[in-house]
């Protein structure tokens, strides 16, 4: 097992190296002069020269890349062109709302989608199954930010149950924090719920055909016990895989959801950076989220060996 984990960890290094190289070279494969791109449309030739010197864009490509990786390994993601603050510091200040939103969405989605998928598989072909599947199709089709506006209009503006926008830090109490996040997490989670419910149903359908399920029934186990203890446990590997892969949806969706609900997180930072063409900030955000995504999926792969002792690579 230890050797498997070690091999798995080592295998992510080339992937992360490629991501770093790709994100770095974006600036150079884009058509046009990188310095002019960063300086923006209204820049004078002097501005462009200044940007070139400040970012060291006049040096050879590989020198720049080596230098960039070196600073990256020391936790330095560069600094914003506009405010000159370090990108890691900017992300650090904005990470709490984003992490809160994503964690809450993740919990909510799993708590809702897995039981829905299990019930749909149990009642396959019946009205409950059909309802879940129809909800899933709509979950895939209605973009999260559209749902966000609809929820905000109904539950915040019309019914006045929850705040329309904004964010309260966790340090101000759990309930104020939660109140602000319920609507964003629900709207962001819908597509994720659809995804997890579908894969749960599909895997459970297969698992419920297994002999040990029949054995369980024969020896008189309760339906709930068979579904949630015996079958779900054996169906868990594909479900957990999809939960891991789906985190990409959460990361992408968080950017827009934060804009809709005016949450001052990394997504808003990204949107502001786009509007100002602050490329180092965008670069830092993309890199950080991609690394996080790779590491989460690495953790899930390792988690399998604990979840399912049959897996021995």
């Amino acid at each position: 097992m230890a050797s498997y984990i070690l091999r798995r960890v080592l295998a992510t290094i080339p992937v992360m190296a490629f991501v770093a190289f790709f994100v770095f070279s974006l600036l150079f494969v884009a058509p046009g002069d990188p310095a002019a791109l960063i300086a923006g449309d209204q820049a004078t030739p002097e501005d462009i020269e200044r940007v070139r010197l400040r970012l060291g864009l006049d040096r050879p490509f590989l020198t720049q890349f080596a230098d960039w990786v070196w600073r990256l390994l020391h936790g330095d993601l560069g600094s914003s062109i506009f405010t000159n603050t370090s990108v890691s510091e900017m992300i650090g200040q904005r990470i709490e709302p984003t992490l809160s939103l994503m964690a809450l969405t993740l919990l909510l989605a799993i708590a809702v989608a897995v039981p829905l998928g299990v019930v749909a598989a149990w009642k396959a072909g019946r009205w409950m199954d059909r309802t879940v599947m129809i909800i899933a199709v709509f979950g895939f089709s209605i973009p999260g930010f559209v749902v966000g506006y609809a929820f905000a209009y109904v539950f915040a503006l019309e019914l006045d149950w929850l705040p329309v926008q904004g964010y309260t830090p966790l340090s101000h109490g759990v309930w104020p924090w939660l109140r602000n996040l319920i609507l964003p997490a629900t709207s962001l989670g819908l597509v994720y719920i659809a995804l997890i419910a579908r894969i749960t149903r599909a895997t459970m359908l297969e698992t419920l055909q297994q002999d040990y399920v029949r054995t369980g029934r024969a020896k008189g186990l309760g339906q709930i016990r068979i579904l949630f203890v015996h079958a779900l446990k054996n169906a868990s590997v594909p479900i957990v895989t999809v939960i891991g892969i789906g985190i990409a949806l959460l990361i992408g969706g968080a950017v827009v959801t934060e804009s809709v609900f005016a949450i001052p997180g990394v997504g808003r930072l990204t949107v502001d950076a786009i509007l100002r063409r602050d490329f180092p900030v965008i670069q830092g955000v993309v890199l950080l989220f991609s690394f996080a995504y790779v590491l989460i999926n690495l953790a899930i792969d390792i988690f399998y060996t604990l979840l399912d002792p049959r897996i021995r690579y």
Binding site: A30, S141, Y153, R201, G252, F279, S290, V294
Partner: protein, 299 residues
Amino acid sequence: MSALVNTARGETVAVERATRGRAARAWRLARAYPTATVGAILLALLVAVAIFAPFLGTTDPAALMPARRARVPSAANWFGTDLLGRDLYSRVIYGTRVSLMVGFSVAFIATAIGLLIGLTAGFIRAVDNTVMRAMDGLMSIPSILLAVALMALTRGSVGNVIIAITIAEIPRVSRLARSVTLSLREQPFIDAAVSIGARTPTIMFKHVLPNTLAPLMVQATYICASAMIIEAILSFIGAGTPPNIPSWGNIMSEGRALWQVKPYIILFPAAFLSLAVLAVNLLGDGLRDALDPKMARNL
């Protein structure tokens, strides 16, 4: 079959029956795959809306009417007007063009390139080791962020949006194409082709490629749906099509400031976007049911 029997009875009857037979066959197919049918009809309607946009009672989507700013829906402006007094109905109808163009182009280009990469990787080990590792790397960048990063470096234009989303979608297609290719290579008919001396390019393009099309077509519909959503998101956050082009994302983005008092500015483009994505998704689900009955039972 029934057409053949009818031919024996006489030509006129045969033709008549054959057409009726075709209609009956279409009806049977529609009954067998209701999701695909509903999706196809919805999508056809939207395509018609896109093509005939100028004839659907629209005015110039960019025409400003400063005297009629932010009006609620009325007989003159069916969906109301936006902050600059532009007719929202016209803008939303013309927006169908942008969304469908982005969706279809990305689906087509990403599938074509991804198929080529996957097919080559499935046959040439050196390509498999290098290119597919690169694809793994690309896949670990969440596609919206990748598209955002690419758009941050170029001028906003429909063409650039298509390129950015295509790059983000290619890895998924190549993975699927590669795995389908690998499993096809184990099939007896490929062994047969090898044994009669068919060369690798012939096997790749004449024998393997046609068999990868069914699963890729299903995936192409999902890519089309996701491309339409990503385009709307990019435009919504200001990294997509330029603001002067009436795309659904742009209209929603312009409606953001006033959404609490004038929610209809966001509602109409949002409804069209959801409908378009739903149509494509239904078509994809239906195609999957029709082309892969084994998987369809489960998902």
